[in-house]
Structures are given as C-alpha cells and as structure tokens.
Subunit: 286 residues, 2 copies
C-alpha cells in the first residue's frame, strides 16, 4: 500500500489520527519538501511518528518514483506532503505510477492553504482561481499571473496569491560548473509580493491600460497560517509593501469588489486602519 498523507500546515501534531496510524505502519517514509515546507524540522517528525523520515527532493519525486514505490506492493510506504496531497501536480504523477504498477493507494487528506485561508475572514466561495507569484529577477519579471488576477477582479472575486519558495536551488554559476552547492532557501514575503504586484500594475499603466488593482486596493497578508504564531494583517497593497508579517511561509489575498459587509466586519479585526475598513462597511451598507 502507498499512503499519501497530508501533514497539514504547521508541525508534527497537525497530522490526522488516521494519518498517524498509517505512517506508523510503514517501513519507509518519504517527505516531499520542495513545493512547501512544514514549520518544524524533519527530526521532530521522525521522533513523533516513531519512524525514520527521508526527505525527498524534487529530483527523487519527479524521476525516482519507482525508488519511492519500491516495496509498496508487499509492505506499506508513506509519502508525506505538507498541506493536502493534491496541492501539486507531481503527486498525482506518483499516484498514476503506483496504479500502473498495481499498487493500492490511499490518500489521507488534511488542511492546506487553499482552505485554511478562510482564517482571514473572507468566505471561500468568494474566491476565484488561485494564482502563483514567482520571484522576479533583474531580467525576468513574468506578468502572466496578472491576467488571472484580472479574470478574478473582472467578476469581483478575491484572489489567493501563493508566494514562491526557493529550496535547494543552484546559482547559475554553480550550475554551469556542475557544482552541487545550493543557495540558502528563500521564501517570498508579503512585502515582496505586494511590491512585485505594484510593479506590474505600473507597467500596465505605462502601456495605457488601467490596472485591475493599485496601491489603494485592499489586501490581506498572512504568515504561518495554522501555527500558533500565525499573523494576519489587512491593509492596502501600498501599505503592505512596508509591513512585516513575520517568519515564513507567507501568502497574500487581494480583495474582490464583491466583498460582503460580514467579511469586512471580520477582517476589521486584522486591519492596520480599522476606521478605513469601517468606512468600507458603511459604504456597502448604504
């Protein structure tokens, strides 16, 4: 049996009871740790689960699925995923491969940012498609995310922005020289995300297109959702550039125009400027 187990958001105790029983029944346990990270280290997982957890990097997951699946036909193998197992495409690949090999698969779900973002007070059914934002470089500033944000804005929906993480990346120089030296991990902050989004809005304005958001658009920055030290800050996109929501991981929600007064009422609790949110509520209630 291959168990694909969601670990939830924060630490070793966010696994479900069903998930924990499954993991403890496994001879081999892999942790996918490149599309997201848990907020505690792997040793703590191994100690709590009572089994050795092997970190699986992108190469192992994408090219070494048969190595992961070895023994899953006769014994149990667990593949642990931060959040819910269906957050990233590569995990469906592993399941498809297991099926090809005739290995039974059981998926154990858990919370992920896709539903836990409700903690900011905005209703999940008022969100449009979710959008990824990658780190800009000097020479590469992909603006394709903007088109999707515009689609959501067009119908007044909120947008959850998933922010880039860079784990086990090589510098171009090290890659060219074939040196397996990795850069320190980088996690995009809410501040960087807001900056990049405003950079693209400015670009649109230069091209004489009215951008679908600007410095004055309301947004919510969140840090470490689901952990005891989670932070939620509601402010304008312009203000968020200068706001630190603490240690990673971060996400950002851009508010849609269809926002309901009850959502604003809840959001007010997290607002830098509560009077400004109250003014929005009064405007909506008119």
């Amino acid at each position: 049996m291959l168990y694909v187990v969601g670990l939830g958001l924060a630490d070793e105790k966010d696994i479900t009871v069903r998930g924990l029983e499954a993991v403890r029944s496994c001879g081999r346990v892999f942790l996918e740790a490149y599309t997201s990270i848990l907020l505690c280290d792997t040793a703590r997982l191994s100690a709590f689960y009572g089994v050795e957890v092997t970190v699986a990097d992108r190469e192992l997951v994408e090219s070494g699925s048969d190595e992961i699946l070895r023994g899953a036909g006769t014994g149990n193998v667990a593949f642990l995923v931060v959040g819910d197992p269906f957050g990233a495409t590569t995990h469906t690949d592993l399941i498809i491969r297991a099926r090809e090999l005739g290995i039974a698969v059981e998926v154990i779900h858990n919370a992920s940012i896709m539903n836990a973002i409700g903690a900011c007070g905005l209703q999940l059914y008022n969100f449009g498609q979710c959008v990824s934002l990658v780190f800009f470089t000097e020479t590469w500033k992909p603006a394709s995310f903007y088109d999707r944000v515009r689609e959501n804005c067009g119908v007044g929906l909120h947008t959850l922005m998933l922010l880039d993480i860079k784990v086990k990346e090589q510098s171009i120089e090290n890659m060219a020289r074939g040196r397996l030296i990795y850069e320190p991990p980088r996690y995009m902050t809410v501040s960087t995300a807001a900056q990049q989004m405003l950079e693209i809005a400015a670009l649109k304005r230069d091209e004489s297109e009215e951008p679908c958001y600007d410095e004055s658009t309301w947004a919510i920055g969140v840090g470490r959702i689901g952990a005891t030290d989670q932070r939620i800050v509601a402010a304008t996109l312009g203000e968020l550039v200068d706001i630190d929501v603490g240690p990673p991981l971060h996400s950002l929600v851009l508010l849609g125009s269809r926002v309901h007064p009850l959502e604003l009422e809840y959001m007010k609790h997290y607002a830098v400027n509560k009077d400004a949110v109250q003014a929005l509520i009064d405007e909506k209630d008119k």
Copy 2:
C-alpha cells in the same frame, strides 16, 4: 479558551492530533451538524474523544452562541465543525462573539471538500468560485447559481458545486401548525444536481440564450470524498443523471475548457467512457 476544531471529512479518526488533544482538554464539546455531516454517528465521536459531544443545531449556533461560550473564559470549550472551521459564515459569527467577550480563540484546521476535491485529479488552481446548489421545489427553482457557473465557464475554469443538505427541516404544514416534527434528512445526489443543472440550461435555451454547459459537458460526480468507500465518476452531465455514486454526501465538478491534458489523464481513471476522455486528450495535445 474556545477551540474551533475541524473534524475533516469522514469519521472520528480524521481529527488532527492537535485537535484531539484540544478536545480532550475541554469540559464542554459541541458539534455543528446542520451545514454538513460527518459520515459516522455522534456516539462514536464521544467514545473516541472520551468526552460527551452535544449536537448543536442551527438555532443554538445562530442564536445561542453565549450558551456555547459559557465557561470558555475560565475553562475550555470546543466547537467541532465537519471539514474545516471556515466553511460556513455562522462560525465566524461565533468567533467574533467570543472576541467581544474577551475569550481566547484557537482554530484547528482540517481538510474540507474545498481542497479534498483535488482527489478527482483536477488541479485546485484551475477552479473558479465554488457554487452552492439548493433543492428545487415545484414552485421554487432558483437559477442564481447559473450566473456564477457562467462566470467560471467564461474564463475556462472548473466549478465545484456544493450540493444541498436538509437536516431537521419542518414541512410547511407542520411549521404552520407549530408542530416540532422534522422531515427525514435529505442529501442532494449527483444525479439530482445534474438534472437540475440541465433544467436551467434548457430554460436558458428557451430564452434564446446559449447555455454555458449542456448534456455533453464533462463533469465529475464524487461521493464520500475522504472516506474509504469514496466514489469518483467522470462522465458527461447527461450521463450523470443516470449514475449513482453511492451513499451521501455528494459533490459535483463541472469541467472548464482550460482543462490540462495531465488533468484529463488522471480523470480518465474515473471515467465511464475512457476512450472519450482519451479523445479529449488527443484533441488537446494536437
């Protein structure tokens, strides 16, 4: 402390380890059981948690929040929610009320249909807004859901349809006579959902509007997602009218035109007609 604890999707073991520890520390434990249901009975929850679980109906949650919160200032109270705590508006109301009373609140997240629907193989970032579908009656066939589906279709996104459940409802006659007699619970099936959707499509056609979906549109019916007996069936909306995906709860996903070949590849596993899905993949790959 008020703990608001997500129970996940299926049974007593879907609670997280953190959630279980919280519940076991509580003197009073309430279960919200009218916006969704767990697939096992309350006695099993009480036995597993080792604490008496009281079922909270809509009336208690919406008007009796102070009764639920009684004692949460000095001891611990748990409010259990099927899925994740932020699935329904009324739970944010309870949190707002707790804050007003100066009661500390901790939310413990879990899987919900909003992220577990990824199990059907469609990528979560290709979903637009989520849409609720209520039971039609002879005289009341609200079509407002259609406008939201059309917004998603307009940009090629998938739509998760949440299907109505009727728990502890009175007949009009019993309500009029003030008799507290409740109808047996009803859960909308995938078949009924497909029927109702096609009824509205026909109505649009009568009004000379080309509907955004029809009998030939691909959809995925799911039953008891997250349970060991979950069922996932991919077929056209017309075919789903005659397909039974087993005991409740059900949900339905309408496929968007932007669907990726890899999503179809995964979906093929669940298709009634695998050749038809392969033809779609070949078409996309051209």
